[in-house]
């Protein structure tokens, strides 16, 4: 208001005469150098506006006027005019919860977006060549080979399980195609005692932690060896021994929970952190806001890892938010954040490793936004060619393929060969096919598992319902699946 008026004297005077009073509260550069707010009065009435018309030029008086105060000229105070020419120089400030806040007479809104988008951290180019001068943590041969081979395993797992679903052997599947580097390299940068709260497109973290192909397969088939006792849809993995919380379908609900888990680690003074994953779509949920804000306020060691893969089922990020992705949201919550190339395994590894160190040493949350692409359909219930271009998918599948890029780097180091590749693939393929056979043969969980674990102890109503259901099964056995033991 102030600056606009000072630059438009004629309009402001007309305003003043129309509404018959004109108020201005301004801060000035006080000669005593004490921060202060001046409020001066000077009469400008309808009748004598020419006489008391304020001078709007620089170095003029700052005033607060009202017709009511016409007789108070004796109380007038003269203030030094604030030099408004220097936008950035803030000489006056006041205390406000959270720290001192400077004053400015410049009415300046923060821009809706920066001139340039936040750059994306990468250390390997599309050909898998290290970028000169890049921040790089040297990965050992052993680590690099394990990262690479697990990325391949994850890809093969997805290929074969996807086919199994198409053949009707399992009811549902969801691939991580295109996000192998995020899955494996982020897991590689963590310690086993770090707690994982997944969304659902991060099975590679489990793979890295030693969840076997047979364990994956048992869950997909919902047999009695499934830790979830056949209660949830395929891909809802979870194991206590790997510190990997059970997947639940609702989006972003794990985000505020991650803050609570991290608070527990903090209270127990553990040398560990929490990592929780979310997609770009999930950042629109209220729970995303809740979780980041809680984590920042409670100062807890948690890494929020956003897989920005461009698509939330059929909704592109351009219809998801107007911000420059997710990375910029960190600062609004007081959370340090980085944008990383999600298809550069080394960059993902480096950033998660650094984030983990900061999270634990400084006891604070860190936000990572990894840019990537969901190369597969959302799930087996989706056909993404209905809403996106096939050539776009092809580009990410080939030229920007995270596995191919990392392979080039590993091979260039002489750590991986064509023979290693075919041996690994053959081996994994054999294991997967065998795992499917075993899982398929394993019987389903018993009917008692339908009623257990609802509560710590089975309440009377469930005893009653179990009894009643068993009677019904006895009378109409054909109504029920035969592979579930009663």
């Amino acid at each position: 208001m102030a600056i606009w008026i000072s630059k438009s004297p004629s309009i402001s005077i007309s305003l003043a005469t129309k509404i018959n009073f004109f108020t201005r509260i301004l801060h000035g550069r006080s000669p005593s150098s004490q921060p202060s707010i001046y409020l001066t009065t000077r009469g400008i009435g309808l009748g004598n506006s020419s006489e008391s018309r304020p001078a709007f030029s620089k170095n003029s008086e700052i005033f607060h006027t009202s017709r009511r105060f016409e007789s108070t000229k004796a109380q007038e105070r003269t203030c030094l005019h604030l030099d408004e020419g220097d936008d950035d120089e803030i000489t006056q400030a006041f205390d406000f919860p959270g720290g001192r806040v400077g004053y400015t007479s410049q009415m300046k809104f923060l821009p809706d977006s920066p001139d340039k988008r936040i750059p994306c951290y990468r250390v390997l180019d599309d050909d898998g060549c290290p970028i000169a001068g890049g921040t790089i943590v040297q990965a050992s041969k052993e680590l690099a080979v394990k990262i690479y081979s697990d990325m391949v395993t994850l890809h093969m797992m997805d290929t074969i399980f996807y086919e199994a679903q198409r053949q009707g052997r399992i009811s549902f599947y969801l691939t991580s195609f295109g996000e192998e580097a995020i899955n494996i390299a982020s897991a590689a940068a963590l310690a086993p005692e770090d707690v994982v709260l997944p969304q659902y497109r991060e099975p590679g973290v489990l793979l890295w932690r030693g969840f076997t192909l047979q364990e994956f397969t048992n869950q997909l088939f919902g047999n009695k060896a499934d830790y979830g006792k056949g209660r949830q849809m395929p891909i809802h993995y979870g194991t206590m021994k790997h510190n990997y919380f059970t997947v639940s379908s609702p989006i972003a609900t794990q985000i505020p929970q991650a803050a609570g888990v991290a608070y527990s680690l903090k209270m127990d003074k553990k040398d560990a952190c929490v990592i929780t994953y979310i997609g770009d779509g999930g950042t629109s949920e209220g729970d995303f806001h809740a979780g980041l804000n809680f984590a920042a306020v409670m100062e807890v060691p948690v890494i929020f890892f956003c897989r920005n893969n461009g698509w939330a089922i059929s909704t592109p990020v351009t219809e998801q938010f107007r911000s420059d992705g997710t990375v910029v949201k960190g600062q609004a919550y007081g959370i340090r954040a980085i944008r990383v190339d999600g298809n550069d395994a080394l960059a993902v590894y480096n950033s998660v490793r650094a984030a983990r160190e900061m999270a634990i040493n400084e006891q604070k949350p860190i936000l990572i936004e990894a840019l990537t692409y969901r190369v597969g359909h959302h799930s087996t219930s989706d056909d993404s060619t209905k809403y996106r271009q096939v050539n776009e998918i092809e580009l990410w599948k080939t030229a920007r393929n995270p596995i191919a890029r990392f392979r080039k780097w590993v091979q260039r180091n002489g750590w991986w060969s064509e023979e290693d590749e075919s041996e690994h693939r053959g081996n994994i393929r054999k294991q997967l096919l065998q795992a499917i056979q075993v899982a398929d043969r394993t019987e389903k969980p018993a009917i008692s598992d339908l009623f257990s674990d609802v509560y710590h102890e089975k309440p009377l109503n469930l005893h009653e319902q179990e009894r009643s259901l068993k009677e019904s099964i006895g009378r109409y056995p054909k109504d029920y699946p035969t592979d579930v033991p009663v």
Partner: protein, 368 residues
């Protein structure tokens, strides 16, 4: 959604609150300041009001388990209803703390904390504001154990929330949302009727290995005063209690409504009708057996709650008892509940299931 406005009103009104519809049978002293409520009456127990009883339970919980935490909006300074008074000073700001104003965050955070083997005691400032946390309660807390095949659980989670009419709360400081939560396998819903019950039930909830929503009758925070043992004690969950024996009709209720029902029972007694009054205490999983045994004896049932009648938990009790006692029933099950309107301000006295509405229903059921 912190409501300091209402807090002030509650404070002012509670000093000289005259309640024609609710004369607390539990009251032995006039409701007043915190100090007044702490009059020592006998060794080992004091006459205290309901919020003080809750406060005692929280003290005991934090004292007896170093892995217990109390948090929510404004809890550090004692909470808008004073339930958390003195806790932060005694146990430190790491164990008793304010959270951002965000109910889904409070419950989500609580689930994570509980899942790590802690007792997470979360406060939602008003039950009316619990709905942003509905997803966390229904889809997360309630299914946490089941979906993981009992690998993970958040049984250490207790969500406390003041519920119900308060005389001037209008739409958003008066609701009784218990029925929504009673439709969710995996959580328990508990509502106490008095200070003594509140302390014992709350301690049971905090130590129960299941997530629990504990609704506190805010009308009674200051109004209900009762002898409460100072020691650490627990009252069993999923056990209803016959708080008045009778032979002509069974009345079932919970929380603040019981005092209204008690008055109706006394009036009916004068007219020669003998009423049996049952406090359900735990709504899920609920004690059907106690209610069934009573109805088998009396042959009649009346259920009363403040929440709207349609889809209220009274409907569940009614249906279950009809299933079990059909041939023993001598009249249709009566329900005296809130109206199917949003909770109104000026019209609150009309909306409420009042003593005389209950009395009429008792008479017509007995004379059916």
């Amino acid at each position: 959604m912190a409501d300091r406005f209402l807090k002030k009103i509650v404070r002012l009104r509670s000093q000289n609150y005259t309640c024609s519809r609710r004369t607390m049978r539990f009251s032995t002293t006039a409701a007043g300041t915190e100090e007044k409520c702490l009059q020592q009456t006998q060794s080992g127990s004091k006459s205290v009001n309901l919020f003080t009883a809750i406060n005692q339970a929280l003290h005991v919980a934090l004292e007896t388990d170093p892995r217990s935490y109390v948090f929510g909006e404004d809890v550090s300074f004692g909470g808008v209803f004073r339930c958390t008074t003195g806790l932060a000073d005694r146990f430190g700001r790491h164990r008793v703390f304010n959270t951002p104003l965000c109910e889904q965050g409070i419950v989500g955070f609580g689930i994570g904390l509980a899942a790590m083997g802690n007792r997470a005691i979360a406060e939602i400032q008003f039950a009316d504001y619990i709905f942003p946390a509905f997803d966390q309660i229904v889809n997360e807390a309630a299914k946490f154990r089941y979906r993981s095949g009992n690998q993970f659980n958040c049984g250490g989670l207790t969500i406390r929330a003041p519920y119900g009419a308060v005389g001037h709360g209008g739409h958003y400081h008066s609701q009784s949302p218990e029925a929504f939560f009673c439709h969710v396998p995996g959580i328990k819903v508990v509502i106490p009727r008095s200070p003594q019950q509140a302390k014992g039930l709350l301690l049971s909830c905090i130590r129960d290995p299941n997530p629990i929503v504990f609704f506190e009758p805010k009308w009674l925070y200051r109004l209900a005063v009762e002898e409460v043992p100072e020691n650490d004690y627990m009252l069993p969950l999923s056990e209803a209690e016959v708080i008045r024996e009778g032979s002509d009709i069974t009345l079932v209720g919970w929380g603040a409504q019981l005092s209204v029902m008690e008055q109706a029972c006394s009036e009916a007694e004068k007219g020669g009708i003998s009423c049996e009054l049952i406090d359900l205490k735990t709504l899920i999983p609920w004690d059907k057996e106690t209610v069934e045994a009573s109805v088998r004896k009396t042959g009649r049932l009346l259920v009363s709650h403040e929440a709207p009648i349609t889809g209220g938990f009274g409907a569940e009790i009614s249906a279950s008892i009809v299933e079990r006692c059909f041939l023993r029933l001598e009249a249709p099950v009566a329900r005296v509940c809130g109206l199917d309107t949003p909770f109104p301000l000026v019209f609150e006295p009309f909306y409420m299931p009042t003593k005389n509405k209950i009395l009429d229903a008792i008479k017509s059921t007995v004379n059916y």
